[in-house]
Symmetry: C2
Subunit: 282 residues, 2 copies
Amino acid sequence: MKTYIDCISCFIKQAIEVGRLVSDDEIVHHKLIRKVVDRLRDYDFQLSPPEMGQYIYEQARLISGVKDPYKKQKKDFNHFATELYDEFHQAVTQSADPVRAAILLAISGNIIDFGTGHSMDHDKIDENIRKTIAEPLDDTVLTQFKEQTASAEKILYIADNAGEIVFDKLLIELLPTKKITVVVRGGYIINDVTMQDAIDIGLTDIVTVIDNGDNSPGCVLDRCSDQFKQALAETDMVIAKGQGNFESLENSGYNIFFLLKAKCSVLAKHIGVKQGSIVFRK
Amino acid sequence: MKTYIDCISCFIKQAIEVGRLVSDDEIVHHKLIRKVVDRLRDYDFQLSPPEMGQYIYEQARLISGVKDPYKKQKKDFNHFATELYDEFHQAVTQSADPVRAAILLAISGNIIDFGTGHSMDHDKIDENIRKTIAEPLDDTVLTQFKEQTASAEKILYIADNAGEIVFDKLLIELLPTKKITVVVRGGYIINDVTMQDAIDIGLTDIVTVIDNGDNSPGCVLDRCSDQFKQALAETDMVIAKGQGNFESLENSGYNIFFLLKAKCSVLAKHIGVKQGSIVFRK
């Protein structure tokens, strides 16, 4: 997905939010904003939004020296989701269609995202997840998903955020784990999932986990490691979570099932759904 | 009020909105956004937000050639408010305290503003106005307002938006009209009130109306005409409507009663009220 001019206000809001997170000093905030504005002057709007996202958080890091601004939030949401795990695991296994239920949960967990300006209050997140898992799912795509997870030799599961990864684990446990490699980010970016999160929530105990060699809030192929690109080239089926992965992989040509919440109005309009909708499409 | 970094997303949104209003051509939208981003690079954040506002709409005009993008909306809201005039006029005159009721109505009319990104749906505006007129008003400021309108020799009433001006008329009719000079903008800017609107709604029939010689969405004194600045210097009491006038005149040192809705979160935080509150202060 290209960057729309409507994305700019969101970039600015992200810069202000991370700026205030890494420093109380207004000079630091202005310095960061000026960097972002400078970059926007010559920005190529054909690039996907995660490319600009990477720049914003990289600048926040360079200016402030804070390497992992959302460390606390990631730990907090890994813990929050882990506390819900047993309840939802039971709900999934007792469901008439466990895979369907687990896909809905994995999508609903995508609401845990500090990059979109939504409230990250635990109660609101909990309520949102419970609402989302009651939503309908496209049966044609679901059938394809089940057939391909059975027939594929290699599956890449590109994860998105900390906390959310616990819900991904619920889904992954229902799939043939030996075929699956989970991909996390190669560096700190917003509350996106890293290897540390995968270890912390026990995902590395059940499945192979690699990182993509880059710290964009998505999968910007030009920036990813050769190891990841090779894994992608050798895979039959990709499951990609979240907006950032969608925005950066939409036109990549791979066989990808996208699972996400359309959290922002620009993306929702781009793919023709209502903002807040669950998206499950190939 | 200085410009906060939080104002930037709003500037961008305003540029996108007016860009799409004056042209369907994406190249025009990008050209305008680039102008705004360029200006932000060297922007002096000690200036008040209306200074940037003026720049955005001026650039939209220069790029597109459309002189008065909100002409239709201004006519529409003058008509909409005029349709409500009789009903509210009766409510005011039958009220136990007509001036108090009229002040609340004048403030409630301030919701008619195309610069703040709120819905300008007639039904929502109507509902919002009816809610606002039931709100409490600071009695100390009200007493001062009544005393000063009685004792002042010259009163300047600096208006804000088309449509809203009909509600201002309701208040002005209760005051000593011979002492009052109403000030409108000196050029087209968003849906801000101009001389044509004052004529259209019959305000010029009951009171002297001048313009301030500038087309900022506020009263940026450095840019206003000598005629207006002289009138301001000779006045005993100023009544200033809306956010733009507040932002640009807050620290001007004149004896000003501000009447506005705190429509944006930045201004609300700046003056310590909840967003959406009515503001009536000296």
